[in-house]
């Protein structure tokens, strides 16, 4: 098993752990962190792919490395935006819950009264 494979497997584990947290944790801040864990997994995978594609005596394929930097910047901006919205939400409402709305009920106006 070479280094690229080990990193690839680690990346898979990170994506899995992050995805679990993203779906299961109800708190938005945890979700933001989970998103970053998935992101780390994806970036690690991309790094492993770059290592695997090494040629011409380079340590790795430079294209994924260049894209990786961009991806990290995008994920960083996304995190910053999400945290900002979350802070504003807490300031406004004093809570950070994402759930809202009430279950639809049978509060049907009966046909005779519907035209009032």
């Amino acid at each position: 098993m070479n280094a690229a494979t080990v990193f690839g497997l680690l990346a898979t584990a990170l994506v899995g752990v992050g995805l679990y947290g993203f779906i299961v944790n109800p708190q938005p801040l945890r979700k933001i962190l989970a998103f970053n864990v998935i992101g780390s997994g994806v970036f690690l995978l991309f790094g492993a792919i770059a290592r695997r594609g090494a040629a011409l005596g380079l340590g790795g394929d430079p294209v994924p490395q260049a894209l990786l930097i961009t991806g990290i910047v995008v994920a960083f901006s996304a995190t910053a935006l999400a945290v900002t919205v979350l802070l504003r939400l807490f300031d406004e409402t004093g809570s950070t819950t994402l759930s809202s709305g009430v279950a639809p009920s049978a509060s049907e106006p009966d046909p005779a009264k519907a035209r009032e």
């Binding site: 994506v15 938005p28 695997r52 935006l81 919205v85 939400l89 994402l98 709305g101 106006p109 519907a114």
Partner: protein, 583 residues
């Protein structure tokens, strides 16, 4: 799309189309205050001119426009490409942004005596950012630039939801952002896998290289599902109704008409251009199946809304479903690939006519809300007297959506029905027809209330800005007259409106729509015969209402975070399985 990577004449317009809105945004931010709006107006004029310029160069050369950034050819460099699809979408977006811009001058003008107001400043900057991002989506030639464009679009769209800074809209915005981020990370993971397998992200090069295999199936499934989450295709729609209904009207129009089309466009790029031979028949059936479910659930829940803006948001959900019906119809069983033809033309025409009609409907709803002080459907009586032009704009937009002659949706439906007929997939024809009837149902429901005379003393005519009503009307008229675009399409699709067959269809559609509104509407339509019919059909109505409530509960359950998150994973697996089964 061709793989040759040489800048063509007129190619320079492509980076301009992307950069000009972003430069306008930066200039607006630096100059600040009331100048942001002025800069936005100048940028909109320039942007529309650039879009028309691109269309003209394309008509002249008759081929894809290409611009190679920095002279580095793919796979190392990045090429911007504009084919027919891109150009059509760019022109349509320019027109819709122009219309919304005219309207937004009324809602987001900086008030007198204030040097700078937060919401107007942000609105104009974000409007330009959405536009620049969309143009990047339409012209990007590789999967990673598409990812960046997609993220830019989300970052510009999310703050539009919470412009008013209230708790409920902030919550909607955060839900939207988090779920969209999940979608984009799925897409990015897929793109990374594609690069690992095929060594390029360039769409044209991928079309030549991609071969079926486990990694490629996984990558395509991940990318498709991620994009569906961003498009809010059923059952990944948890974020859409609150976000689109809660935003200010001029922002809702942008989000509903334009932003969701960005990720939809990338699905088209992926399935038709990057890997046409990969997904296969079963995956296309799955995709259109989700579309059909979106049409049914979206329309039924729309009929059960109390508020006009939520009704329009659920209508968007259903219309998004419509866009995905074209995929199996564009599948060529002979070659096992997706081919550009009448089905794709129909799907794109549907997207454009929805963009114009939905923008008009949200803008009209905004004017109605501003005048009446609420948007409760049951209390719309008198609206037609107080803001007649706004109600007319809503009606025209709604009629255009139903696919009435000579709307763009009519031609789109004809094209799709033709493709369904040709490929023997009659079940999708059924879905297309049923969707039109439901749409007629809720348009009738709203109009029957809005056209009723108010019981109160006639309220004075309220003066809304003429330019705002004109913008809503113009967008609705665009959608209604898009049918004349068929001069560029093959065959004679548009019949005379007085053709007996067309008249019969019209009568049947209206009757069926009224029946659906009577059966499923939360409030009964205010038709003269409504009460009598309801009295006769009371047991039937009780049954239909029970069905409606069931669908509404299903929608509510699916909009839970856990359920939507799991759907994301399950759909990815289903798509991968469907694609691998195609071999």
């Amino acid at each position: 799309m061709t793989a040759d990577a040489v800048t063509t004449p007129g190619g320079l317009l492509l980076p301009l189309a992307v950069l000009v809105p972003f430069l306008g945004m930066i200039a607006g931010l630096v100059l600040g205050g009331r100048n942001a709006q002025r800069v936005a107006m100048v940028t909109i004029v320039a942007g529309v001119a650039i879009a028309l310029g691109i269309a003209q160069s394309m008509l002249q050369s008759g081929d894809t426009l290409v611009y190679v950034l920095g002279g580095f050819a793919p796979p190392l460099g990045i090429a911007l490409r504009a084919d027919g699809l891109s150009v059509v979408m760019m022109v349509a977006v320019a027109v819709v942004i122009g219309g919304i811009g005219v309207y937004a001058r009324g809602d987001f003008g900086t008030p007198d005596g204030v040097r700078e107001a937060r919401a107007p400043l942000m609105y104009w900057l974000l409007l330009l950012a959405v536009w620049g991002s969309l143009n990047l989506v339409f012209t990007s030639g590789d999967l990673f630039t598409l990812y960046v464009a997609l993220e830019l679009l989300t970052f510009a769209g999310v703050p539009l939801v919470c412009l008013d800074g209230k708790g409920e809209t902030l919550r909607s915005a955060l839900r939207y952002l988090l779920f969209a981020l999940a979608g984009s990370i799925f897409y990015l993971l897929g793109a990374v896998l594609v690069y690992g397998e095929w060594g390029t992200l360039d769409v044209a090069l991928l079309a030549q290289r991609v071969q079926p295999g486990p990694v490629t199936w996984a990558a395509a499934a991940l990318m498709t599902t991620g994009l569906l989450a961003k498009t809010a295709l059923f059952p990944l729609h948890l974020w859409l109704p609150p976000a689109h209904a809660g935003a200010p009207p001029a922002a809702s129009a942008v989000l509903s008409a334009l932003v969701v089309k960005g990720s939809f466009f990338i699905v088209v790029r992926l399935w038709f251009d990057a890997m046409p031979a990969l997904p296969g028949f079963a995956a296309a059936q799955l995709l259109a199946g989700l579309g059909a479910a979106a049409i049914i659930v979206g329309n039924v829940v729309a009929l059960r809304q109390e508020r006009l803006k939520l009704l329009i948001a659920y209508s968007t959900l259903a219309q998004i479903g419509y866009l995905f019906i074209m995929f199996p119809l564009a599948f060529d069983a002979g070659t096992g690939a997706f081919v550009r033809g009448e089905a794709l033309a129909g799907g794109m025409l549907q997207a454009i006519s929805h963009a114009t009609a939905k923008a008009a409907m949200f803008l009209a709803a905004g004017l109605i809300y501003a005048t009446l002080g609420h948007d409760r459907i049951a209390d719309l009586a008198g609206a037609a007297r107080r803001v007649p032009l706004s109600v007319l704009a809503f009606a025209l937009g709604g009629v255009a959506l139903t696919g009435a002659l000579p709307s763009g949706a009519y031609v789109a439906k004809k094209l799709l029905l033709g493709a369904a007929d040709a490929s023997g997939q009659w079940w999708w024809a059924l879905v297309l027809q049923a969707g039109g009837l439901f749409t007629t149902g809720y348009v009738l429901l709203v109009l029957s209330h809005a056209l009723r005379a108010s019981a109160d003393a006639p309220a004075p005519r309220v003066r809304v800005r003429r330019s705002q009503e004109a913008a809503a009307l113009a967008l609705a008229a665009c959608s209604l007259l898009l049918g004349f675009a068929d001069v560029v399409l093959p065959g004679d699709l548009v019949k005379s409106p007085l053709d007996p067959g067309e008249l019969a269809t019209l009568v049947v559609t209206v009757a069926a729509g009224a029946a659906i509104a009577l059966a499923l509407g939360r409030r009964l339509p205010a038709l003269p015969a409504g009460a009598a019919l309801a009295a006769i059909g009371s047991p039937i109505r009780r049954a239909t209402v029970a069905v409606g409530l069931l669908v509404e509960r299903l929608d509510f359950a699916l909009r839970h975070w856990h359920v939507a998150g799991l759907s994301l994973v399950v759909l990815t697996l289903l798509f991968a399985a469907a694609m691998s089964g195609a071999r």
